[in-house]
């Protein structure tokens, strides 16, 4: 993705339309970050359209694949129970868009740790994203932790990653040490996937 080539203003009236437009956009070699972010933000969350993908797990947040974008992107829905949060992680040189479909999510940005990281990681900023907001991050911006800080409400978010990736690094906030993890899907296209391997960053 590079500078905006031809920035259209899209309005996605439904989740299906959002996916159709994404396929069209990503058919090009050049895709604009601003265009995709505006498109994601334009879709007004309608639970009826995504409830089938929103499978919650009691113990931790889940990743539920919605569309695999002909190999160009992965579109997935993440379900966060009360108090569920992610580790600090990077995005394996990919673009990451995150739109809130329900509830609120807190995003905390961190600086990359020094090569010989041995101190507390540095927080850059934090914000709470409201329903229908869409955030963007990539490795040059930094690392982040996403959490549902509510003790009473669940949260659901829609994520687009391009190119798709299935592993990333998680970081220990106290020391900056990183650890590679494989990511798995809790469900794909609305069907629960039972993985044989041990639980990972899924």
């Amino acid at each position: 993705m590079e500078q905006p080539v031809q920035t259209e203003t899209w309005k996605a009236q439904s989740l299906e339309e959002l996916i159709r437009i994404l396929h069209r956009i990503f058919a090009d070699d050049k895709v604009s970050v601003e265009e995709v972010q505006a498109l994601m933000e334009s879709y007004e969350s309608n639970p009826e359209e995504w409830l089938q993908y929103a499978k919650f797990d009691q113990y931790r947040y889940t990743r539920n694949l919605v569309d695999n974008g002909n190999g160009k992107f992965n579109l997935m829905i993440l379900c966060w129970g009360e108090g569920h949060g992610s580790s600090i992680h990077d995005h394996t040189d990919s673009h990451c868009f995150m739109k809130i479909l329900q509830g609120n999510l807190k995003e905390t940005l961190f600086e990359w740790p020094e090569k010989k990281g041995n101190g507390e990681m540095i927080k850059k900023s934090e914000r709470v994203l409201r329903e229908n907001a869409c955030a963007y991050i990539n490795d040059s911006i930094g690392l982040h932790r996403v959490e549902n800080i509510s003790h009473t409400e669940t949260a659901v978010s829609l994520h687009l990653y391009s190119p798709p990736f299935d592993s990333c690094n998680t970081f220990d906030q106290r020391t900056g040490h990183k650890h590679k993890v494989k990511m798995t899907f809790y469900s794909q296209f609305g069907e629960r996937t039972l993985s044989v391997s041990t639980r990972e960053h899924s």
Binding site: Q58, Y59, R60, E82, G83, G85, S86, S87, I149, S150, H151, T152, T170, F171, D172, Q173, R174, T175, H177, K178, H179, V181, T198, R199, E200
Partner: protein
């Protein structure tokens, strides 16, 4: 709640009165024999009489499985709900609790307990007597230490402790073999060895007690005053497997760092019977630096490697 609720809807199984501003749930609830899920979050519950008396004795006491009282104003766990013997899931997140009552152990069927977002300062060891507990959330509180007894929660799969005031964990936590999720971020966990300043040398009574236990000196209740018989029964085994010793009141607290493949150091509190005693693989000397080095071979690290994945959150 409207009077006559149980007459109109006698077969009611799920009742959701969340976000309705209720200040109390009345006795109308008690006559709903099939109710298994009650959601009453984000209301104004918390004062005396928020829950009807006799909750445990009503048919509801056996049928209720899920109770969600999050986002209310409870300053203590309402005693009325401790009689809900069939309760599997309880949420009191986002209230004003300052403590957890030991009688929480009455909730014998509890599998899911959410207490995040309160003002809890300590955890009663009785919490460990819940045999089916698999998900325990204590995040966003003011907890300073975890009782080692919590390691008896054999069914525990997920433990949420983030954003508290923990400086270390008991080494027994490594015994939770089914634990898959453990969150510790936002705690002031020590990263360097903290020299314990308060080792009190053992009393003569303790030294005598240790010798009796260590040498298996036989005694019968008729040989000793009752208080000494009781004292001898309270001996704790030194956790150092190479030391057969016991201690009573006097022990050394030592923080040992367990390294997770060089990436994450977890401070675990050990209790040893004396400063001369040390965990295996540490040198015999008592120098603090050698004891604080990462330890890769003993059984603690094997257990630690198993938990490696869960700590990075």
């Amino acid at each position: 709640l409207p009077a006559g609720l149980s007459q109109w809807f006698p077969a009611l199984e799920v009742l959701d009165v969340s976000g309705t501003g209720l200040a109390e749930l009345g006795a109308e609830l008690l006559a709903l024999p099939r109710l298994h899920t009650l959601l009453a979050k984000n209301n104004r519950l918390g004062g005396p009489g928020s829950l009807p008396k006799g909750l445990g004795q009503a048919p509801l006491g056996r049928s209720l499985r899920v109770l969600n009282l999050s986002g209310n104003r409870f300053a203590e766990v309402p005693p009325a709900l401790l009689g809900l013997r069939g309760l599997q899931s309880l949420s009191l997140g986002g209230n004003r609790l300052h403590s957890i009552p030991p009688d929480i152990q009455e909730l014998r069927s509890l599998e899911f307990l959410y207490l995040g977002g309160n003002f809890i300062t300590s955890i009663p060891p009785e919490l460990a007597n819940l045999p089916s507990l698999s998900y325990l959330v204590l995040c966003d509180n003011k907890i300073q230490s975890i009782p080692p007894q919590l390691a008896q929660l054999h069914s525990l799969r997920s433990l949420s402790l983030h954003n508290n005031l923990l400086t270390y964990l008991p080494r027994e936590i490594l015994n939770l073999v089914h634990l898959e999720e453990l969150s510790l971020r936002g705690n002031p966990l020590v990263v360097r060895f903290v020299r314990d300043l308060t080792y009190n040398p053992p009393s003569l009574q303790e030294l005598a007690g240790r010798t009796i236990k260590a040498r298996n000196v036989p005694y019968a209740p008729s040989d000793l005053p009752e208080n000494l018989v009781r004292y001898l029964s309270l001996a704790s085994n030194c956790p150092n497997p190479k030391c057969g010793g016991v201690y009573f009141d006097s022990c050394v607290r030592q923080i040992k760092f367990v390294d997770f493949c060089g990436k994450y150091r977890l401070p675990l509190m050990h209790y040893l019977c004396s400063p001369e005693c040390s965990s295996p693989c540490s040198s015999a000397s008592q120098s603090s630096t050698s004891q604080s080095e990462s330890d890769s071979e003993d059984e603690a690290s094997v257990a630690a490697r198993r938990m490696q994945k869960v700590l990075l959150g």
